[in-house]
Amino acid sequence: MNIALVLPIFIPMLAGALTLACWQWRNVQRILSLLSGTGLLVAGIYLFSQVRSQGILVAYMGNWSAPYGITLVADLLSAIMVLVTGIVGLSVAIYSLATMSKKHEAFGYYPLLHLMLAGVAGAFLTGDIFNLYVWFEIMLVASFGLMILGGERAQMEGALKYVTLNLLSSALFLTAVGLLYGYAGTLNMADLALKLGNGEQPGLVTVIAMLFMVAFGIKAAAFPLFFWLPASYHTPPVAISAVFAGLLTKVGVYALYRVFSLIFIQDIGLTHHNVLMAMGIFTMLTGVLGAAAQFEVRRILSFHIVSQIGYMLVGLALFTPLAIAGGVFYIFHHIIVKTNLFLISGIMYRYHGSYDLAKLGGLYRNAPWLAFLFLIPAMSLAGIPPLSGFFAKYTVIKAGVLEGAWWMVGIALLVGLLTLYSMVKIWAEAFWKPLPDEAKPLRGESDPQRYLLYLPVIVLAAMTLTIGLGAEWFIRLSLDTAAQLLNPNGYIEAVLGPLGSRS
């Protein structure tokens, strides 16, 4: 059994259990949380380097060989996602030391956070589709708890929608898993790919594929299934919003990438080029238009999550090596940038006690470094060179041009422009205009915990710059990932053994 595959799940799960045991001791919980965040990041780096040097890694749980037991598999996509989970987990663990109130900590913030990270890592690493459902549920139950931490009215309202839609999506997922098992008689993803590859009823498979698309589409907040996200993501404390914004929807996107590159590739013309493409285009457009209409920082950012999901979906929908590479690049760039933007919105809140753009102002004068730090992820999100977002958008759009998908190209460019508009709106309102009279400055640069707040923001901004300036290396990595995804035989052989040896 390969330890590199187990550690990213085991470390946060252990931390969740230990922090639960240390319920009374806040400081112990905080130290455990930092240790677990660091451990997850180190485990992620280790896993990534292993996968990079040795190819796809496989571990059979309980030594039950492939189609029977639960398999953990890490290809490049999984490894990248686990690595980014570690980055986000550690950043949020540091940031929440300064922002979580005693009340939030007393109601189990740290156990829930780490159990959620364990669920996320598990979902990225599993090679069994029912096990994927189980990890989804672990992640969701923990996120439900995080969502209502504090128990304000807005959180209750947001949580009701979040819980309902996610449970509906889980039920659809379970339905699809049941039908798939009834059709193929297996749940191992590699085995499924093999069995569906020479199936007799492509129509039935397409129906099941559509069920999966709806189930994962709800989780990924794709058009027209995204309405729960802008209703709920801005309600919890900002550290929680940041980790949700960074990771949770991307688990849905990851599941779409995995399932629609490995299992459901019978009818690419319909499932990918038509349905996913339309979903992606409308997701981009509706998300950004929603964002343009908002005047509250976290709501603008929430709508932008939706909009950026669209780029990832069109990357998958085009289904060429370059497009998938663009989509993968987009996923890891977006997780870092979006987490960072939410963390920065938390710092903005500490200056003036509001997320409302009408009540913010003058931050450039009071906190020029914050303004600079905001510009990096904001411009990256909008796709200004040489930041990471430019290369992500460029790759996706170039793939669209090469395929002649002109509608997608045009709308992607327009959405980039509108993204820039709403980022400039935040800049102009919160940083540039003078402070309105009704706003009261709360704490300025004398904030005693500002190092804890700024450290993750600076590190994430530096990563955005690194991805942008060293884009060549990251694009090559994405192309390798895309090559792995587009060649399912490698995955199948890694899990089940050489193809010829099985009858």
Binding site: G145, G151, G158, L160, L168, A171, A231
Partner: protein, 115 residues
């Protein structure tokens, strides 16, 4: 048997969605409960229904002979029941708290976090 199951599953899905579309949050949670049970029954029937054949291999034998129930759907449903039970327990507590905080059982009163 399969026909009966098909009717029951279809009726459960329909009832669940109908309940979820009501404005009352109590009915919403009842809808979610029914929905998870509908999905569980669907897995059971998709795995193949067998009457009176346990998923056991007879003594002295290496393989099964004759009809056998597929144990995997039962294992899946067992897992799914545990998960949905936990989640529903959470949902029930949530609507109780939401009712206390908001003071209404009506989804129409809960639009302040929307657009």
């Amino acid at each position: 048997m399969e026909n009966l199951f098909a009717f029951v599953i279809g009726a459960l899905y329909a009832t669940a969605l109908f309940m979820m579309l009501r404005r009352s949050i109590v009915k919403l949670v009842i809808g979610l409960m029914i929905l998870s049970n509908a999905a569980n029954l669907l897995i059971l029937s998709a795995g193949g229904l067998v009457r009176g054949a346990p998923p056991l291999i007879a003594e002295h034998l290496e393989q099964v002979t004759g009809p056998i129930a597929d144990p995997l759907p039962q294992a899946l449903i067992l897992t799914a029941i545990v998960i949905s039970f936990g989640v529903l327990a959470f949902a029930v507590v949530l609507i109780h708290r939401a009712y206390e905080v908001i003071g209404a059982d009506d989804m129409n009163e809960m639009k302040s976090t929307d657009l």
